[in-house]
Symmetry: C2
Subunit: 346 residues, 2 copies
DNA sequence: AAAAGTTACGCAAGCGCTTGCATAAAATGA
DNA sequence: TCATTTTATGCAAGCGCTTGCGTAACTTTT
């Protein structure tokens, strides 16, 4: 080997510029398609950059332009640990769009103090904005984020009196339709297996349940709505309790396919048949591997693909960050009501 | 309001320093516990910083210290979309440790070109290291990452002749034990429902399967090992094919509880009983909601909690980055073999 | 009491990039 | 041909932080 040496490939702007015999400004501008740079120069620079495998140092660029080109997803760590969650599907949707739009996705789980995480993200300027999930009925995070000046989008709504962007499932109409369907089929003893009461979506669903009764000049007993966690097991336990109690319900409306599964199991455990002795309806998020179609009999459900929500969340946030949107964006996902074998007239 | 104004809380080092009447150096050092700063000053600075909600700008700090204090997780986007995957559990483990160690976790999914993502991560210096998953038998990523000089840890092993750190399940011994158990119970017509052949773990398991036979002076037909994807459905289809073929197997050894579930279903579909007519064993990753215990009859399995692997992956990578470890770290997770009702003597 | 050593802190040079402004060269107009 | 505009490029000042080195002001030593 006669003294020949590989040129260490240019890893920073300065050396790349030196190697090309132009200034850093020119290289930087050429690489970003600045109009003042003629096409010929642009190409020369670009191909040198490609050859060297040059990519601007993300941290330096960030610092210079004052943006991180990254968003954060803030969530309770347990949402990754729970066996039954639609969270991963939301994450998949978010990932897709973030990647497409050339942003980075920072995962920010927290154990208990979400506030601290949000504050840290804001003050350390690690991200340009955040997605938060599962708003409470009266959620303090909205006020915090507004005061921090950190752009954000919420997965779900809340009643807080302040402008904010969100993407939400149409809980109100979806549950009204599901309940209405059962009522119109002649069911009267209906139990709603709902989510935990402090979540806004559960409150909305409970209201919708009663609204469906009211719209038909009927009224449901308050105890007809069960506020329990979103799992198969609680679906099972809740349904079992009602099926074995006096005044057996003839139908159940469930918050998710997870719960519906449990309800199916409870019905079977009582020696009854779904869609024959007892009707079941639910909302279906289209979670990976847990869809209404996979139950036997197939479950009548309202359907909103939750991955789509994830995509929308990311797109909305990035638009917000890039100033492509200034007024708060509020999206309520449309749903389809699909009739399948799990309901029958009372 | 008589001209009184809120002092805008110090958001950067400079203003914080000015406000305290000291230099930036002092503030920076005080906040990082530099020994030359006396305790009294340290406290004064710290409390001013707390009051102002000051946190160093992560990007500026990164640039100055030449570290991102972040790691990347590079994976095919589909692993978030597939219904049956142990990926989320690995992610949960990684998240935990990353958070504990005060790092950030960058999620870097890719559609098809993983190489491009790795190159980009390396050249843009967005992270200090990466975790890659599911190595192929002869994996090109190892060479690439070594040449890029980007620290990394692999979830799984590969036969590539180069030093690298990894955390892996003990596929070899686990499968040898499972197969051996069946053999010792007198089974001879055993089918292995294995993963896809290009993954290293599947190759290792196939070899282990044959090794168990050989160790007893027996030999298995090559067709006894099925290289199929890791899902319930393929488990079902594969088992069904064998159960309906000539020379019905008396036992199955499966790659995961997902596959085992399918095998259970196929056995039932043939009017046979698991643990009576046909024995089933598998490896259990302890995936959220899909564990060996939940099957009926409970599944005899080797158990290695996969979340632990995630934790170890992150810890190993961070140690590597921080130079707390220089030689490649190789961890093979120990496993337990737990006997349950799914096996019986032939 | 002078020399030497400590202690507490500030200066200023980066880290690698972007970008407003200045400038030289080329093209255009009168 | 000279003034004016346009085009192509460079200079240098940041972005907010860390850190090596330097230096007063004190302590300690002899």
């Amino acid at each position: 080997m006669s003294g020949k040496r590989l040129r260490k490939s240019a890893t920073d702007l300065k050396s790349l510029a030196a190697q090309l015999g132009v200034s850093q400004s020119t290289v930087s501008r050429a690489l970003h398609g600045h109009p003042a740079i003629p096409e010929t120069t642009r190409r020369r620079v670009q191909s040198a950059a490609d050859a060297a495998g040059y990519r601007p140092n993300a941290r330096a660029r960030s610092l210079a332009i004052g943006k991180a080109e990254a968003i954060g997803l803030v969530f309770p760590l347990e949402r990754l640990q729970l066996p039954e969650t639609n969270f991963v599907d939301v994450l998949a949707g978010i990932s897709t769009v973030v990647t497409e739009r050339n942003y980075s996705l920072l995962l920010s789980p927290f154990m208990d103090d979400e506030t601290a995480v949000l504050r840290k993200l804001a003050s350390s300027k690690a991200v340009d904005g955040v997605i938060i999930t599962r708003p409470l009925v009266d959620d303090p995070r909205i006020a915090l984020l507004n005061s921090l000046g950190l752009p954000y989008v919420v997965h779900g709504r809340t009643e807080v009196d302040a402008p904010f962007s969100y993407v939400d499932t149409d809980n109100d109409n979806s549950f009204e339709r599901l309940t209405g369907l059962l009522l119109d089929y002649g069911h009267r003893r209906i139990v709603a297996v709902n989510g935990l009461a402090h979540f806004r979506y559960a409150a909305a669903r409970a209201a919708a349940f009663h609204r469906a009764f009211a719209a038909r000049g009927l009224s449901a007993r308050a105890e007809a709505v069960e506020f329990v966690s979103m799992t198969e097991q609680t679906g099972y336990e809740t349904a079992l309790r009602h099926l074995r109690g006096a005044n057996r319900p003839t139908a159940f409306v469930c918050g998710s396919v997870f719960q519906a599964r449990g309800v199916y199991r409870a019905i079977a455990a009582c020696g009854l048949a779904v869609g024959k002795d007892v009707s079941v309806v639910a909302h279906d998020d289209g979670v990976r591997g847990v869809t209404a179609l996979e139950l036997m009999p197939p479950l009548t459900a309202t359907y909103t693909p939750i991955r789509k929500s994830g995509e929308l969340l990311a797109a909305t946030l990035i638009d917000l960050i890039e100033g492509k949107r200034n007024s708060p964006s509020r999206t309520i996902m449309p749903f389809d009501l699909i009739l399948r074998g799990s309901v029958q007239v009372a």
